[in-house]
């Protein structure tokens, strides 16, 4: 199954990239856009039929390498 992993900076971590994008959007007239946060989207093709087991494995991978818990948090979405 295709599993979606979303990794984003924690709320308390400054995101200069997101801030630069917000400023560009404001300059283009999108003044209604407030904060912008940039993250990563990873699509993993994972073998196995048991959603619970697949989720557990992908979350383990997130903790081990896909996300850095010091600055990032992750979210795993199954189909």
């Amino acid at each position: 199954m295709q599993v979606e992993v979303r990794v984003k900076l924690k709320e308390q971590v400054l995101d200069p990239q997101g801030e630069a994008i917000r400023r560009v959007l404001a300059g283009l007239g999108y003044a209604e856009v407030g904060q912008v946060r940039v993250g990563k989207l990873m699509l993993l093709d994972v073998g196995g039929d048991d959603p619970g087991a697949v989720r557990a494995r992908v979350e383990a991978a997130c903790r081990e390498v896909l996300a850095n818990p010091v600055i990032e948090e992750f979210e795993v979405r199954l189909p």
Binding site: L9, Q12, P16, V65, V70, I71
Partner: protein
């Protein structure tokens, strides 16, 4: 420029087997780990030799450090900085040997990308964010020496100002407030960005690092990570020799 694997000291040229300990009177052996994408490995090898050590290139797939008494994790863009700077290299086979070496009190110097790896494997606290300016910064900076009571820093003087180059895009050190407090209380900050008079703050901080952190040591003092490049400043011909004292101390600690 020769890349690892194309020259006479490339990976796989006999650096994977354990070698005997340094013979009495022999040169101290210092491993320089080469990852795919390292680009300061040659500089580090040359700096170790210039400091009187025997520089031993060790490929990142190696299971050991070839019997060396100290190790350099050099700068560069290991694995193209994919995912996060240093994140993939942190899982290279050689890193288990680096952990064992560090746990046994062996000297470890992580420079730039090597510092990022030390953060990723948790030998030093915190993480690197993108520079405040979002730019890759390649220029000289001034650094205030905060510790001189450890083997790796013994040739420096606390309060003195060094001038070394930085070259990075992810050098904006970050940690949660409680971790920052622990780091400061433990005296884990070895080097801070400063101006030429040793003053901290404002424009003297090139990347936005919390408390102007440029280099950290672990609690035991045998693991040093730093964003500036001491291996690029080992002689007047290279624009200065402020890095030589660090490399010399590393060789002596091997």
């Amino acid at each position: 420029m020769n890349r690892p694997g194309t020259g006479d000291r490339g990976p796989g040229t006999g650096n994977s087997g354990r070698r005997p300990e340094t013979p009495a009177g022999g040169r101290k052996r210092v491993a320089v780990v080469i990852f795919p994408g390292s680009n300061c490995d040659r500089d580090a090898l040359a700096a170790v030799e210039a400091a009187g050590g025997e520089a031993v290139p060790v490929w990142h797939q190696s299971a050991d450090l070839a019997g060396c008494g100290a190790v350099v994790l050099p700068g560069g863009f290991s694995y193209g900085d994919y995912l996060r700077a240093g994140a993939m290299a942190a899982h290279s086979p050689v890193m288990a040997a680096v952990r064992r070496h560090a746990a046994g009190g062996g000297a470890v110097l992580g420079i730039c990308n090597g510092f990022q790896m030390l953060l990723e494997i948790g030998l030093l606290p915190g993480a690197m964010l993108m520079n405040r300016t979002l730019r890759f910064i390649c220029r000289d900076v001034h650094l205030r020496v905060e510790r001189d009571d450890l083997p790796l820093l013994k040739h420096l003087r606390r309060g003195h100002v060094l001038r070394l180059p930085i070259a990075h895009k992810e050098g904006n050190w970050f940690a949660a407030p409680d971790v920052v407090r622990q780091v400061e209380a433990a005296g884990a900050v070895a080097l801070r960005y400063c101006n030429e008079r040793g003053e901290i703050g404002g424009e003297a901080n090139p990347n936005g690092a919390i408390n102007a952190v440029a280099g950290l040591v672990n609690r035991e003092g045998n693991v040093l990570g730093m964003m500036p490049h001491p291996e690029r400043r080992i002689s007047a011909l290279l624009g200065g020799s402020d890095g030589a004292a660090l490399i010399r101390a590393l060789v002596e600690a091997a």
